[in-house]
């Protein structure tokens, strides 16, 4: 019988500091056993519990795309006991990874449609996964628009990739910061306003929104104004989690468990749930 609490062992292959405040690092982990690698099949939007043995485990969305085979990428903000321990890891050290867990973005639904990605701050992780995944079979989707904002240029994740994507003509990139600096010559402004200005068409389109609650709160009305209906607005939620498989009882919103019924929900689904998240 499979034991869902036993993590796979993985090695830290690469650590990269993502942001100028050193608070976010990206980790590429390589699963040690080939059989574990085969068992770990995932899609963008899913998450896993990452362990530092002796410190505990915590849930993080996969920032890598399943199309990037060979490693799993997580971008982790240093904020608590486990994340602090993760930040202290060096290349070559061993962690545990339990997953994949949760549902994923409704990729089949996106086919043949425009896809708009709206992200804020360090919530761009599973959006990176999605963006890379969709580019691997670019023909399946129509226009892909990305609106991504951070407080300052130094707090944007994946800056090298953002630059590359900005130079591609099959992506409409709108990268913005709340406050620029002397090196910044891009957009300045909050995500909701930039979304308004970019005005992506809601015709035959889906929008995926990931970011801090305040950004989501002000972006939803803009998207609604643009004509996106609640069933076409996709969000990914975060909750305190332990088991990740719907048993430990803490991540529920009403009768839905974010760990197993989510973390991806449509706005339509969320509106049926109590306002407790």
């Amino acid at each position: 019988m499979k034991n869902p609490y036993l993590p796979f062992s993985a090695r830290v292959d690469r650590v990269k500091i993502e942001t100028e405040d050193n608070n976010i690092k990206s980790f590429d982990f390589i699963l040690l056993n080939k059989s574990d690698e085969d068992a770990f099949t995932y899609l963008p939007g899913q998450f896993a519990e990452v362990s530092v043995f002796g410190k505990g485990e915590a849930p993080f969305g996969m920032a890598s795309s399943p199309t990037e085979s060979g490693y799993l990428k997580f971008s982790i903000n240093k904020v608590g006991v486990v994340t602090e321990a993760l930040h202290n890891l060096e290349e070559g050290e061993i962690v545990g990874i339990r997953g994949p867990l949760g549902n994923h973005y409704p990729l089949d639904e996106f086919e043949g449609k425009d896809v708009v990605i709206v992200g804020g701050g360090f919530a761009f992780t599973t959006l990176r996964s999605l963006l890379i995944y969709m580019q691997k079979s670019r023909d399946k989707y129509k226009d892909i628009t990305v609106i991504y904002g951070a407080r300052s240029p130094g707090l944007l994740l994946y800056r090298d990739e953002l630059e590359k994507w900005q130079n591609q003509d099959d992506l409409k990139m709108h990268i913005t910061v709340d406050k620029g600096d002397e090196s910044w010559n891009g957009l300045v402004g909050f995500v909701p306003n930039v979304t308004k200005d970019a005005a992506p068409s809601s015709e035959n389109a889906y929008v995926i929104v990931c970011g801090p609650p305040i950004m989501i709160k002000f972006t939803i009305p803009v998207l609604t104004e643009l004509g996106f209906t609640p069933d076409r607005i996709i969000l990914s939620l975060e909750m305190r989690m332990k088991c990740g498989i719907g048993m430990c009882g803490r991540c529920n919103i009403g009768s839905k468990y974010v760990c197993k019924d989510g973390p991806v929900f449509t706005l339509e689904e969320l509106r049926k749930l109590p306002d407790e998240y």
Partner: protein
Amino acid sequence: MEEQVIEKKDIKSWIEGLFADYEVYAPVLDEKKGKVYKKVESTEDINLEFLNSKNSPKDIYFPQTERLFSFSRKDEMGLIPPHMDDKKKIVFGIRPCDAMAFTMLDKVFVSGENNDFYFIKRSENTLTIGIGCIKPDSTCFCKVVGGEPSSEEGLDILLIDTGKEYVAEPVTDKGKSLIEGSSFFKEATPENIRLKEEAITNANEKIQEFDISGLKERLDRGFDLPVWAKIHEKCVGCGICTFLCPTCHCFDILDEEGKEYGERIRIWDSCQFPLFTKHASGANPRPTGKERMRQRIMHKFKYFVENNDIFACVGCGRCVKYCPVNLDIREVLKSLAGDGGGKS
């Protein structure tokens, strides 16, 4: 198989004979904890003089703390799960409410999609022999939430106390075979059956009932009822209601670290504790007692019902009996089902 009868004086000899093939869990009087269900080595320890135990028997399948695995710091690859034997078990003397609670825990831990290795290892190969309640406690309310003092749900054998004997109702095939192999049982006479029916009727008459027929409608619209702000006020957040509850199953997972090795353990947790849902960022979707009390009630009487078509409450009354501030879930239900919840 027809109903069987076993004389009370033979019951311990019958159990004695089961020790060879089974681990037997039964109610015992623990010096510190009072009446609890424990693994017994001798039938002398079994104590059937009680209404119900203080602690529910859920810890037989789901211990308060358990090791999920241990790990060595020297050999970083090695995760060692605990050894779990496949020994057959009998839970003897369990009350129908607690047996029904086992079926609810099954729904949580054995969903088909996700299966809890440890719970399954402990609960599979287990037979339950229940004793119907002929003398319900003043805090019992199983009939209100779909149970009965003589419910067979979750049991393999149901015993009903008829004075000198127990009338045994074999509920499952496993239960039948346990009785068939024993010389202590004989077929029940019409008189035995009459006494049994009388005992059941008596218990059903004695147990308190109240009407919660309006509960679903209230809770469906009930997230913002003013009553939530009131009912939690005297709660001190001790969590005893959740720890004694036979259906509460929330847990925490944490690591214990030693110099050379460590363990990942799971430990019961409670939705009544403020840290239960607190994010590392400091955000907390259930920041006060109001939200936490609402979660406890809504989970038991709405959310669990939506997912499993059954209340996550068996009416055992432990939370009523042992609450240090007399917060009575029966009053909460009555008030919600009636108009005491206030206008939403």
